[in-house]
Amino acid sequence: MSGAPVYDKLVFELSSPGRVGFSLPEADVPGAAVDELIPKKFLRGDAPRLPEVSEFDVVRHYSRLSRMNYGVDTHFYPLGSCTMKYNPKLNEDMARLAGFARLHPLVRDEDAQGALELMYDLGQMLAEIAGMDAVSLQPAAGAQGELAGVLMIRAYHRARGEKRTKVLIPDSAHGTNPASTALAGYDVVEVKSLPNGEVDLEALASAVAPDVAAFMITVPNTLGMFEPRIMEITEICHARGVQVYMDGANLNAILGITRPGDLGFDVCHFNLHKTFTTPHGGGGPGAGPVGVRSHLEPFLPAPVVVKDGDAYALDWKRPKSIGKLQAFWGNVGMLVRAYTYIRTMGGDGLRSVSDNAVLNANYVMKRLEADYDVSVPGPCMHECVLSARRQKRRGVTATDIAKRLLDLGFYAPSTYFPLIVEEALMIEPTETESKETLDAFCDAMIQIARETEQDPAVIHEAPVTTPVRRLDQTRAAREPNLTWSPKG
């Protein structure tokens, strides 16, 4: 066990009646008390039970809580499929400029020309990166981008008078793919992948029936491999009137190397919090812009940022639009960060991002292939998927390995995803990590493989250096305790 006493407070437990952490001005208007302004039936009888703490209590409490977290700034974070790269500090300064951070969404277009220009240009740049014709910046995250994309496909088929009811999704897909597709009103048909994770072309060809609206696939796939016959796949689909959707979660692998539009995709989304360095924030906010080829452009979420001469505007006259996805125009704070990043890197810089992301992933895979099973032989793209099946035979699971890594000073890879790999460990190092960091991580992984043989107890005990040890998930689900009460 670690020696330092663990901080175990919730902010409510710091509360002392009468203590304050705020400073608000005295009322400067002649005015009545609120119960003279508003009928009593609308008013709260008693004050809400919020903490009563000083400003310094707040600062120390949240500073101490922050130290109970691993983040990219403090730890290598090889969480596959999440692209946990460095989040540049400059992006933060730019997003905090009052002209962006303090701008109300409903000001007139002429009062938001700088923000609209940035959004227009970001859309153009993302379109160029993906080889798409138009981009909507509105989706708030990847899953909402998926929903937007599938709804556009639905609207497109409808407009052509076609009734298609199914969407094909590989069994290796992210969970959001089937969830978003079902939400858009489609039946999801799972397509089995080949053992190497690639699409089974024969199975696909027989599955693309006239009632199929779309095929949704991640490129590179969730095993970190480029789909070598991707252009045949998009051709097979198009020949049967099936639209092809690319989940852009893995875009960090292909910047400037190949483009979804050139591969034949009709729609793709971007995760700005992955490829384009906006922070993950402990689970968001992200941003999930969606790009389309021209035949889907009429269906883009409204409004669309347009340029007329030197003026920028929000165009609401989109009669075929699928509608709105969030109240306003997108997670603009995130768009400012992504724009800053792209302008920092330029086209050559982005190409270098993918080159180095691929190199780093292959380096990790090579260094670990003697001690762990690789799911598919390399070379891989930006991430590699290992299997702990060898370790499992000795009683050490992917979860155990993840917990031991925490003790050795690393966050864990994604585990048990993709579902088609037994005891999966999905490792995405990203281009921002140095060789020394990768070596230290690989050394730790090799150490764990040795411990599996020689001293598995140390793995089963892990983690012991974290603020808490392994947690009882079953109890949490069986007796849900989702809010604090004074009794505990």
Binding site: A27, V34, K41, L90, A98, D111, G282, S434, T483
Partner: protein, 449 residues
């Protein structure tokens, strides 16, 4: 040229390639067919040095009428509430800022504890039993509530009061298209829900009745009456509520709400031209297994120590896939953290004070503005911090003329409702001073002369 965001030097690249057994990075890309390759560099503006980029960004930012340079009386779902200084300092700690969804709870107790605190505070403010870890924004939260009501009741209609923010209603329409949920609007001719009309529209087919209070026009709705009406028909009552108001206004849960959603941007989140925002979602305990999104629960570790985990995950897309309660994965955890720190800082007394100041200043502003000849309140309803003015000149031209004086006088309502072509929606938060309100009244009187 070398990039400051990429660590590998050419020498290190060569060393790594040797280990890998490849002659070049190009050798690692062999699976990509030649015809699929981009044969030219990306056509993007060339890279900018940090100092040049800062100059460029400042120039863009300067072309926006932000609330530092302009006096903001705009609301309609995004408000200029005060943001205490500790929030940005604390959320900027890299351990919070650069972590992701707490998949490894032992190394994520900081994030998990803050979400648990957030859930507790939102449940308390809304008067509900449970709250989730957040949805994208108020509008998508409402859309999720409509989907949830449809799933819980197995009914196919959702009845929405016209007082629900029209931008939210459009998002609900987008989300309800796939599942085939029919939407019905209840008129609000007097600025609040027409209970008789609602009574006719809420039937045995209704999954939920949705009201917003204060509504889009700023007016306070009779939530208890709406609850009675919905429950009599076996429908759920969904209430859209801005949590920053709930230090003063009654908790919707105590008035009969089954689900409470809302925009939490006022709780310390910058306006940022409309996003990212904070979608609040809370519900009664019986509905917990149908809630969309992440939930954090308390448990114990191996040694019996208190700890926190993501829980009830069998609702979620990464487990349940096509049958999940929602497709949401990434939410807005960092905005929820802002709200948690905001509510800790303001506390029991501060949140009440924010509400009292906003209400007092809004009523003072309404009095000053309606003293101008030709200007009146559009609706004779009790309001909180926002109200609708009827103007004798087109509101869009008034907005244009006041912009020249660096005043953002409100939101013209013509776009949302043709019947309100003469109307301007005005919001007043605790941030506005008497001087600013008087200046607004003076300027409005002049342009209306």
């Amino acid at each position: 040229m070398a990039s400051r965001y990429i660590a590998n030097t050419p020498a290190e690249q060569r060393e790594m390639l040797t280990t890998v057994g490849a002659a070049s990075i190009e050798d690692l890309l062999v699976k990509i067919p030649a015809k699929a390759r981009l044969s030219r560099p990306l056509a993007l503006p060339s890279a900018l040095a940090e100092s040049d980029l800062v100059r460029h960004m400042r120039a863009l930012a300067a072309r926006n009428a932000d609330a530092d340079r302009f006096v903001c009386f705009m609301g309609a779902g995004s408000y200029d509430h005060f943001v205490p200084s500790p929030i940005d300092h604390l959320i900027s700690r890299g351990e919070f800022f650069t972590a992701y969804t707490p998949y490894q709870p032992e190394a994520s107790q900081g994030t998990l504890r803050t979400i648990y605190e957030y859930q507790t505070m939102i449940a308390e403010l809304t008067g509900m039993d449970v709250a989730n870890a957040s949805i994208y924004d108020g509008a998508s939260s409402l859309a999720e509530a409509a989907l949830m009501a449809h799933a819980v009741t197995e009914r196919d209609e959702v009845v929405l009061a016209r007082g629900v923010n029209p931008l939210y209603r459009r998002v609900v329409a987008t989300y309800c298209d796939g599942p085939g949920i029919r939407l019905r609007d209840v008129p609000a001719p007097e600025g609040v829900l027409d209970l008789d009309a609602a009574g006719r529209l809420v039937t045995g087919k209704t999954a939920a009745l949705v009201v917003q209070s204060p509504n889009f026009y700023g007016a306070l709705e009779d939530v208890a009456a709406a609850a009675e009406l919905a429950h009599a028909a076996g429908a759920l009552l969904v209430v859209v509520s801005d949590p920053v108001n709930l230090g003063v206004l009654e908790a919707p849960g105590r008035l009969g709400a089954d689900i409470v959603v809302g925009e939490g941007q006022g709780l310390g989140v910058p306006m940022s031209f409309g996003g990212p925002n904070l979608g609040v979602f809370a519900a009664r305990a019986e509905l917990v297994r149908r809630i969309p999104g992440r939930l954090v629960g308390a448990t114990v570790d191996r040694d019996g120590a208190r700890g926190f985990v993501l829980t009830l995950q069998t609702r979620e897309q990464h487990i349940r896939r096509a049958k999940a309660t929602s497709n949401i994965c990434t939410n807005v955890a960092l905005c929820a953290l802002m709200a948690t720190i905001y509510l800790s800082t303001l506390g029991k007394q501060g949140l009440r004070r924010v509400g009292e100041l906003s209400a007092a200043k809004a009523h003072y502003a309404a009095e000053r503005l309606t003293a101008i000849p030709g200007v009146s309140l559009r609706f004779a309803q009790p309001f909180f911090k926002e109200f609708v003015l009827r103007l004798p000149k087109p509101p869009t031209s008034v907005v244009a003329r006041l912009a020249r004086r660096r005043i953002l006088p409100g939101v013209p309502l013509k776009t949302y409702d043709r019947a309100l072509a003469d109307s301007l929606l005005v919001a007043v938060t605790e941030q506005r001073t008497r001087e600013e309100i008087d200046a607004y009244a003076g300027a409005l009187a002049e342009v209306l002369k």
